[in-house]
Amino acid sequence: MKAELTPYGSRSRLGRLGRISFDTKPISLWDRDTATLPYPFRRMRRAFRDFARQQIAPHALAADVDPHSFDVKPLFLEAAKRGYTTMFLPRPWGNLSLYSVATAMLLPAALRMEEFCAACGGLGLALGAHDLGIAPLFVSGDTKALLGWLRKIYAEIKSGQPSICAFAITEPGAGSDVEETDGAESAKLGTFARREKGGWRISGRKVFISDGGVAKWVTLFSAQEGKGAESWTCFLLDKSMPGFSVGRRERKMGQRASDASELILEDVFVPDDRVIGPVGAGWGINRNVLNYSRPVVGAIALGIARGALEHALEFCDTARLGNRPLSAYQDVQIRLADLIAKVQAMRALVWHSTRYRLPFQAAGAIAKSYCADTAWEVCTAAVELLGDHGTLHGNFVEKAARDARLTQIYEGTNQINRLAVIESQTGPEAEFPSLQLAQGSG
């Protein structure tokens, strides 16, 4: 191929002004995207990626093969040393970036989860689920929770304890029903809190709780006895409470390194000071936590897809067919380009969804459902692209596909998330052109 016909070669023939406007810098898309961020976020992104490469990636495949033997706590403590597990409070108690609060509150979490999950979806979730457990303390508006309990938990972490927090809403008979309005109204709940002197007695079961088996603290939601989801109250439990135990640890298709356990409550006494937010305000806290978590799940999906893409690119560049690398074949190039475009589109959507002043329902639901579906497409396309090689565990892409599949299910299935989009966009937040015109002419 003639060098002067390539973008790089043809640029060299331009004059200075022409060369200034013609960008052919040999830097990756990752670097280009990073350069679009303000400096504090650029720094964060690089640090998250370094951590992922050094601490997460080396364990990815082994933790996936034998998750029950893998102890996530040392990894949690490594992340804690760098402040990645205490990001809901500012210094000196935590590592919340006030700059991010002022500009794009969720962007650090999205950047972090993309990098972590590009290295391993399971280990990324194991670290990220801790923030999901913390989130009710943050969004409840309860100063006792924020300045009392959250400070205590962060102090434990900063002292070197693996004080992981988990978020418990799902019940055996109520999965989708605890994630959306219509379902909640008729949900068959099984966990109830009975008022007692000085506190509450809670009995029931929660299932599929990420980090449930390894967490010390759990933000758990329970209806009041004899009432429905509208009575939900958020409680902060810890594993030392009598009657509170961990049941079955689930065996999952993917994200296997992340624990998903059953929590069993047998008349657990929870004192009043462990109620987070007002009694009966739990459903609102839950809904708002989902507003904060869904864009981040979009970032998880993005990270998993990017990891699959990177491994597919590497494979196609090194594996040879005849005397050329696979990536020299046009059919392979077409497919790789599709994957790159999809990953870029996912990132654009995630970053956009985190730049609103405050997270809101439609933004999170759109980001989550679109990115989850697209991540599955990207990862399965990567498996197909590599053929038989794509089904080998050691080549990473099949693990990524298994990991990506879960993002279409948790934090509300993608069907529930679509209903969440419509709930707001055909409700109070709706804006219809013909209506606007009519109002304007009136």
Binding site: V65, D177, D182, G183, K252, T380, T391, R402, R405, Q415
Partner: protein
């Protein structure tokens, strides 16, 4: 074989799946109790489901890809594979690959034990020209029988992704001869043959997958077989994989429908919710289409026309080519549609679908493996693009 005989075999397969395959999956392991597989395959052999090259073996005539498949066509084998796959796609794959090996040996007049067929190579992209003749321009097969200076022959080369069920005793190796394809049988313990496990895979754990390094295996260690090009093998290979993908998806659909009638969310049994109905409806339509496509491809693979031309050379007859195109299209389309159908079925089950206990995630892993194995989907697309004006005459055949 008349329809009643086919139905009888299907019933045998159904009962086998219920009695022998289902218990294998009742353990807490993502792919079932794999230690039971050797005994399970032996039972399949005794039941006449698993074919053997030895004429005295129960499945020699009517097992999957048994002798009757040459005379009667692939319908019975394909339907039995789909039925077995409803129980476990991995077990169905083991029966499929064992049958393929038995067919190769039997057609070559060999009575060797269970064999796997080794055709694909690390750096060979399948082309029509390559199927007909390994020495056409642009095709490079590295496995060959080389005549040494002292007059002896040695077999050398590499084979990739050889699917070998438990109990495999040897390999039918396709090699590039002097001007045509050649085949030989190599025992698994032959000197110079190194078998490397491909490693943990997404699905089909029952059926081992290996790479072969063939390092100057002397002629005393391999048996030459009559030369034939791999058309017939590829037709059976792809039809079988399509059938397994279909059976796997059919079972997933049954499970999803059943779950949707038992699960209560959103104030009702979930099968009444439109979101679930869309998923089930989509999955159902894909499974229906896949079934119709498979039966059409099977009809195109007529008996008598699927025997590859002798000598392993030349363009082959038009019927063989048509059957090969049809099988390739079926593998491509059915593989893709069945992955989508199974993932939709998993979505119906929600979080439970993602857990090993419900066995739906295993079905999805198996479907993904079936889609990508034994020639990549894009390679099938490229192959089909080359197929030229010889459009399959399936409409005409359907009017018989």
């Amino acid at each position: 074989m008349d329809r009643s005989a086919v139905d009888a075999f299907l019933e045998t397969a159904r009962r086998f799946a219920a009695r022998e395959i289902a218990p294998m999956l009742e353990v807490e392991d993502r792919d079932g109790d794999l230690s039971k597989i050797p005994a399970l395959l032996q039972m399949a052999e005794q039941a006449g489901i698993l074919a053997g090259a030895d004429p005295d073996s129960p499945g020699h005539e009517f097992g999957v890809w048994g002798k009757a498949a040459d005379a009667d066509g692939p319908l019975a084998s394909v339907l039995v594979l789909a039925e077995l796959a409803r129980g476990c796609a991995g077990v169905a794959s083991a029966v499929h690959f064992a049958g393929l090996g038995a067919r190769e040996l039997d057609n070559a007049g060999s009575k060797a034990g269970r064999a796997a067929v080794a055709l694909f190579e690390p750096e060979w992209r399948l082309t029509w020209t390559g199927v007909d003749d390994p020495h056409m321009p642009g095709v490079s097969i590295c496995t060959s029988i080389v005549k040494e200076k002292n007059g002896d022959s040695v077999l050398q080369g590499r084979k990739a992704f050889v699917y070998a069920p438990p109990g495999t005793e040897g390999f039918v190796v396709y090699a590039a001869g002097s001007d045509q394809w050649e085949r030989c049988y190599v025992s698994a313990d032959a000197k110079g043959l190194a078998i490397e496990d491909a490693g943990q895979r997404t699905g089909l754990a029952v059926c081992a997958c290996s790479h072969l390094k063939i390092d100057d295996v002397p002629s005393s260690m391999f048996t030459g077989l009559p030369a034939v090009n791999p058309s017939s093998f590829l037709i059976r290979l792809w039809l079988g994989i399509s059938a397994i993908a279909l059976g796997n998806a059919q079972a997933a659909l049954v499970s999803a429908r059943q779950y949707a009638r038992e699960r209560y969310q959103g104030g009702d049994e979930i099968h009444r919710h439109a979101a679930v109905r869309l998923l089930v409806g989509d999955a159902g339509s894909r499974v229906s289409a896949a079934r119709a496509h498979l039966l059409s491809a099977v009809e195109t693979a007529d008996p008598g026309s699927t025997s590859a031309p002798e000598g392993g050379k030349g363009r082959g007859n038009a019927a063989v080519r048509e059957a090969l195109i049809s099988a390739a299209a079926a593998k491509l389309r059915i593989g893709t549609d069945c992955v989508q159908a199974v993932t939709d079925c998993l979505q119906v089950l929600g979080g439970y679908g993602y857990m090993e206990d419900y066995r739906m995630e295993k079905r999805l892993r198996d479907a993904l493996t079936l889609q990508s194995m034994c020639v990549r989907p894009d390679d099938l697309r490229l192959l089909l693009a080359e197929s030229g004006e010889e459009e399959p005459q399936t409409v005409e055949r359907g009017r018989r």
